[in-house]
């Protein structure tokens, strides 16, 4: 049992969800959209998250959709991570989501929930940052589609009352494959010390990183640096000037430990490039 009272709403449509959010806002009640609920329930139980109402998006059928054709792949935000992992159309996304949390919890965590979560890892976003992905966002004006590159900066930039309904990627770029390097302190189900998702195309290596800094990121300056390296003539320490923030230093690992893991992982990535 959670330690405080709240109301629960389960809309059947996007319009109903937006409507109840606005109504609750009008009467000064703080509401929260949720779907899988793993993060919301555990944080509420610990007392670090409070709300007057939960709006459960699981009743909205189109948010569970998956569609794939020669042009485009669509992942509904309410697909669980295991449902996403069952799809082979975006191999790097499959690789990444199969390593998040544990198998049982992946039957609840949704794609949208992981990417919009409060925890700073948001690992499922990594592959989307590497391809020309788009995110579909519902709000009072209807559903809009934005380039992920513009919509995601540390976290998905959502206005009050908005929520994510799904993600689109171009089939051609997504089928390229890639590599997921996930390092943990103890067991596989831990939060990552570091998670790198990388792809390579004719322009070179592209990579997105979670766990190293307080939020996930893709750094084109870092990619440029790595793609300009020839042979073994490079100074790994200079990489840190290209990161968007300081390396995390917390009770899971010191920044020095994380840096050592990062350096080994980058070396591995560059060796893989050499092998290709």
């Amino acid at each position: 049992m959670l330690s405080f009272d709240f109301e629960y709403y389960r809309p059947d449509t996007i319009e109903e969800a937006i409507g109840i959010y606005k109504e609750l806002e009008r009467i000064k009640k703080q509401s929260l959209y949720f779907s899988g609920g793993t993060e919301v329930v555990s944080m509420a139980r610990k007392g670090v998250l409070k709300f007057d109402a939960l709006i459960d998006l699981k009743g909205i059928k189109e948010m569970k959709d998956y569609a794939s054709n020669e042009e485009e792949i669509y992942f509904g935000a309410n697909m669980t991570l295991n449902e996403v992992a069952e799809q082979d159309s975006f191999p790097l996304l499959k690789q990444v989501v199969e390593t998040i949390a544990d198998h049982t919890v992946r039957n609840r965590i949704t794609l949208g929930g992981n990417i919009c979560g409060r925890l700073g890892y948001r690992e499922a976003v990594l592959p989307f940052l590497l391809v020309d992905a788009e995110v579909c966002i519902a709000g009072a004006e209807g559903v809009k589609t934005l380039a992920m590159e513009k919509a995601f900066d540390r976290r998905l930039k959502l206005s009050s009352g908005e929520f994510v309904t799904g993600f689109k990627v171009k089939s051609s770029g997504s089928s390229l494959g890639g590599i997921s390097i996930r390092k943990v302190r103890t067991t596989d189900v831990d939060y990552p010390l570091l998670h790198i998702a990388a792809m390579e195309d004719e322009k070179g290596i592209k990579l997105a990183v979670s766990g190293l800094c307080p939020y996930p990121f893709r750094s084109k300056a870092l990619e440029q640096y790595l793609n300009d390296i020839e042979g073994s003539d490079w100074d790994i320490k200079s990489i840190y000037e290209l990161l968007p923030s300081q390396v995390k230093d917390d009770n899971i690992a010191s920044s020095e430990y994380r840096k050592a893991v990062f350096e080994k992982s980058i070396e591995k990535l560059l060796r893989k490039r050499g092998e290709a």
């Binding site: 049992m1 389960r10 329930v41 295991n82 198998h103 049982t104 039957n107 609840r108 189900v189």
Partner: protein
């Protein structure tokens, strides 16, 4: 649109029976199963989604009932350890002595049962991937893995 502002009556489909229960939105499924329906097989462990002692099946898939609100699951099929009778995995756990204190056992059995339903020939990688969702702090995992393999043999013989 379904809504629940305070206490409300739900009809939950538990182990094939329709069970009426009065719940508040703040009640987790684990606590409702244990304290309002008397189904104490699912265990409270960490109540944080880490240990898997509270694992049940929701529409056949293993989930951690401590992370789910009871109001979320009306209309879905819930299976607890009390809903299993003489399954191959239960027999195999006894035959392999795959438990010591037994606290984690219902969670492990529910997860193993779900896995064997969809992957009767699960390989070592699949078994480890599924079972990494559950923690045991006294028996160790070797006997549990042996029990899974024994259950696979039971299933394949049948």
């Amino acid at each position: 649109m379904k809504s629940c502002k305070n206490f409300t009556q739900l009809i939950l489909d538990v182990n094939g029976e329709k069970r009426k229960v009065i719940v508040s939105p703040k009640d987790t499924l684990l606590r409702v199963l244990r304290e309002k329906l008397g189904l104490t097989g699912a265990k409270p462990g960490c109540e944080n989604g880490d240990c898997g002692a509270c694992t049940i099946l929701l529409d056949g898939k293993p989930v951690k009932s401590c992370l789910i609100l009871a109001v979320e699951v009306e209309g879905q099929s819930i299976t607890t350890i009390e809903g299993l009778r003489d399954t191959p995995i239960q027999k195999a756990f006894i035959e392999e002595s795959a438990f010591q204190c037994g606290y984690c056992t219902p969670g492990f059995i529910m997860n193993c049962h779900a896995m064997l339903n969809v992957h009767p020939d699960a390989d070592d990688k699949t078994i480890r991937q599924w079972l990494s969702s559950n923690l045991c702090r006294c028996t160790g995992y070797e006997e549990i893995e042996k029990a899974v393999k024994r259950a696979q043999n039971h299933i394949n013989v049948v």
